[in-house]
Amino acid sequence: MKWDISKLDEWKTDDFPMGAVIPEAGNSKYYRTGGWRSQRPVLDRNVCTNCLTCWIVCPDTSIRVADERLADDWFDEDHCKGCGVCANECPVEALTMVPEGCEIPEVK
């Protein structure tokens, strides 16, 4: 995180960058939307062919790829909203949506 916004609620007028500019592009990656979901995708690696369809349709950039395959840590639990588009589009039904019982502290 380039721009430290952890104490933003205490900032005074002068502490804010001029003109409401956000100086760190893409910093929403530090904002957790994972708490939104009530279901999460579960992957069966034995069935998965790494076609990458799930990756290209995910609205929340929550499927990680590495070396042209789903990464070991493929699931971004901080951002997945549990929409289920991935599971719906998977051509081999390697993804199943299951009820959420997640580890994110804010939700617990």
Binding site: W3, I5, L8, A20, I22, E24, A25, G26, N27, S28, K29, Y30, Y31, R32, T33, W36, R37, C51, L52, T53, W55, I56, V57, C58, P59, D60, T61, S62, V65, E68, D76, D78, H79, K81, G82, C83, G84, V85, A87, N88, E89, M97
Partner: protein, 314 residues
């Protein structure tokens, strides 16, 4: 034309952590377009609307590129200003002559078909080197599903209600892609979030153009269409497969029907009912007293399909 594997080597510059709804078609559209755009420097301007509002809630930005939001009707004009600044600064030697930057203006159907039409038309006419992307979800969704000129005939919207005196929106959809093609831009295309290959390829082509390019993308809104939020890609696919949303491109005046739509000329289109039935916003159309309206909608689709396929030389 990149494969999915090739696309994985490009940086995903549309970040998670945005506040768009689960299953939002606009975010799917943006991810695919930005991946299709490649890895060159890109500056994005976005009109007020779901996409802008949900990806720019202070202090968070979901765009890993320089980004500007100005107002609702003027993303095209705003980005034409950014592009002009680039040309001027490069001419003045303040930006290196070999630096290449791409420019994209984005708007929903609200900010593009209606309030933004003038600004878009002007930018296309002036020939700026930029790509305009419309994520068409068929209504002013961000303000709560009011009708736009892109709303389908017969669709429910909060300002095109369903009741004894009216069955949703009376008017047909405006054919914006043809309007922009008529501007004589080097590239205009219609695509959908349901066909990643079509969309990423068209994005690549649009960004490769030197001059104005336009892509109109069918982008499901689960909220406004009253569909299950896991169906966003599936329902858009039905939009394509019924011929309700033909995929085509116009390159330097040459009209071509794209693969997935071209296949339908042989295999036949699914009846438009298959696209309408899963959407709650069309449920009134299936009441027996609306049989005529439903038939009308099918004949509108047939008519538009005739028109597009003919223009594409088929």
């Amino acid at each position: 034309m990149a494969t999915l594997k090739e696309l994985t080597h490009r940086e995903d510059r549309f970040e998670g952590g945005h506040r768009l709804c689960a299953g939002c078609g606009a975010s799917i559209a943006m991810r695919q377009i930005m991946l299709g755009a490649g890895t060159e420097d890109l500056v994005v301007g976005c009109a007020t609307g779901c996409l802008e509002v949900s990806t720019s809630i202070y202090p968070y930005s979901s765009w890993d590129v320089p980004f500007i939001h100005n107002a609702f009707e003027n993303s095209a004009a705003t980005v034409s200003g950014v592009e002009s600044a680039f040309k001027a600064l490069q001419r003045a030697g303040k930006i290196p002559a070999d630096k290449r930057v791409k420019f994209m203006a984005v708007g929903g159907d609200g900010g593009t078909y209606d309030i933004g039409l003038q600004s878009l038309s002007g930018a296309m006419e002036r020939g700026h080197d930029m790509v305009y992307v419309c994520y068409d979800n068929g209504a002013y969704m961000n303000t709560g599903i009011q009708r736009s000129s892109a709303t389908p005939k017969g669709a429910w919207a909060t300002t095109a209600e369903v009741g004894a005196a009216q069955q949703g929106k009376p008017q047909k959809r405006k054919d914006l892609t043809s309007i922009i093609a008529a501007h004589g831009v080097p590239y205009a295309a219609q695509s959908s979030i349901s066909h990643w290959k079509d969309l990423t390829t068209k994005a690549e082509k649009a960004f490769a153009v030197e001059g104005p390019a336009f892509i109109n993308v069918l982008a499901t809104c689960p909220r406004g269409w009253r569909t299950a939020y896991n169906m966003s890609v599936e329902i858009a696919k039905l939009g394509v497969q019924t011929g309700w949303w033909p995929l085509f491109e116009v390159e330097n005046g040459e009209w071509t029907l794209s693969g997935p739509s071209k296949a339908l000329t042989k295999a036949g289109r699914k009846p438009v009912e298959e696209f309408l039935k899963p959407q709650g916003r069309f449920k009134h159309l299936f009441a027996p007293e609306n049989a005529e309206l439903l038939a009308e909608i099918q004949s509108d689709v047939d008519e538009y399909w005739e028109y597009i396929t003919k223009r594409c030389g088929l």
